[in-house]
C-alpha cells in the first residue's frame, strides 16, 4: 500500500529535506502534500486521505502542538499517525507532545534516524 504523506513545516528547505529522505527509503509513497503551518496542515488533513503527517512545532499562524490537539479532537483524523520533527529541546513540551500520541524526532536528524522511525511507525499502522 502506497503511503500518502503530509509534511507541515514553515521552512521550504526542511520540507524538501524530509521529502528527499522519504524518497530514499524503501517505503512505497503515494501522494505527497506540503503545508507551511498548522492551519494549512489541518486543511490538508480535511481535504486528503493522509496516512502519515510529519509536523514541525515552532511555526507561525498555528504551531504544531495546536495542530495535533485539533487533529486528535476531530474523529476523522484522531487516529492519523503523527511524527513530530522539530528542534524542540524542552523535555516539558516533548512530553506533552508524546502524551498526545505523536512520535518525536529531533532536528538535526540523520536520514537513517528518520527512516527508522517512519518504518517503525508505518509497520505499527499496517
Amino acid at each position: 500500500m502506497a503511503l500518502n504523506v503530509l509534511v507541515v513545516d514553515d521552512s521550504a528547505v526542511m520540507r524538501t529535506m524530509i521529502l528527499r529522505t522519504l524518497q530514499m527509503t524503501q517505503i512505497p509513497l503515494g501522494e505527497l502534500h506540503e503545508a507551511e503551518n498548522g492551519r494549512e496542515g489541518l486543511e490538508a488533513l480535511a481535504e486528503h486521505w493522509i496516512d502519515l503527517a510529519i509536523v514541525d512545532i515552532n511555526m507561525p499562524v498555528m504551531d504544531g502542538e495546536e495542530m495535533i490537539e485539533r487533529a486528535r479532537s476531530t474523529p476523522e483524523t484522531a487516529g492519523t499517525p503523527i511524527l513530530v520533527v522539530s528542534t524542540e529541546g524542552s523535555e516539558t513540551r516533548i512530553s506533552r507532545i508524546v502524551q498526545k500520541g505523536a512520535r518525536f524526532v529531533h532536528k538535526p536528524f540523520t536520514p537513517e534516524e528518520l527512516r527508522d522511525v517512519i518504518t517503525g511507525l508505518v509497520g505499527e499502522v499496517s
Partner: protein, 166 residues
C-alpha cells in the same frame, strides 16, 4: 564564559555536520574584513528572551543549500542559500537553548529572518566554527546576558537535587 563558548561550539559543529554535512576544521586566520557575509536572526521568548545571530560567508551558501537539499549547486536557486542559512539558524537556536538553559524551560522561537549583521551587544562574544566549506559565527544575545540563560539550568539542577533528597 569558556564553558558556554564550548557548549555553543559543540552545538554549532554537530548541527553543521548532521544537517549540512559540513565538518569541523582547525581554526584558520580571521576571514578578510571585506568578505561578503549573510546573517540571519532568530528571536526567542520564554523565561528569558533574546535572539541568536548566525553569520556565514556568502560564498559558502550555495554549498550549504546544495548539501542540505541533496542537489547540485547549479540546480540551486539563489534565494535557497539564504533559506538554508535560515534553517541552519533555526536548528542551532533550538538546540542551543536547552544546552545552555537546561531541559525544562519552554521557549518560543520566531521564524528566522535575514538581517544585516550588527556587532552583538557587550557580553555576547560570537563563537566562530571553522568548517571544510568556510565558517559559521554564532552570537547568543539574551536580555540580561548569557548568565541569565545558564542560571535557568543551575536552578533546574538545584530543584532536581532537592526532589531527589525528598
Amino acid at each position: 564564559m569558556r564553558a558556554e563558548a564550548d557548549t555553543i561550539m559543540r552545538v554549532v559543529e554537530r548541527t553543521c555536520e548532521t544537517l549540512a554535512f559540513m565538518f569541523p576544521m582547525l581554526p584558520d586566520d580571521d576571514p578578510p574584513a571585506d568578505e561578503a557575509t549573510a546573517a540571519v536572526r532568530v528571536d526567542f521568548s520564554g523565561p528569558v528572551s533574546g535572539y541568536l545571530l548566525v553569520t556565514a560567508p556568502r560564498r559558502m551558501l550555495p554549498a550549504l543549500a546544495s548539501n542540505m537539499l541533496g542537489l547540485e549547486p547549479d540546480e540551486i536557486a539563489e534565494c535557497a542559500g539564504v533559506d538554508a542559512l535560515k534553517e541552519l539558524g533555526n536548528v542551532i537556536c533550538g538546540n542551543l537553548l536547552p544546552a545552555l538553559a537546561g531541559p525544562e524551560p519552554v521557549f518560543r522561537m520566531s521564524p528566522p529572518r535575514p538581517c544585516d549583521a550588527p556587532a552583538p551587544p557587550g557580553g555576547a562574544a560570537p563563537v566562530r566554527a571553522w568548517l571544510d566549506e568556510g565558517w559559521v559565527e554564532v552570537a547568543v544575545c539574551p536580555e540580561g546576558g548569557l548568565e541569565c540563560l545558564t542560571a535557568l539550568a543551575a536552578r533546574g539542577e538545584k530543584s532536581a537535587d532537592s526532589a531527589r533528597t525528598v
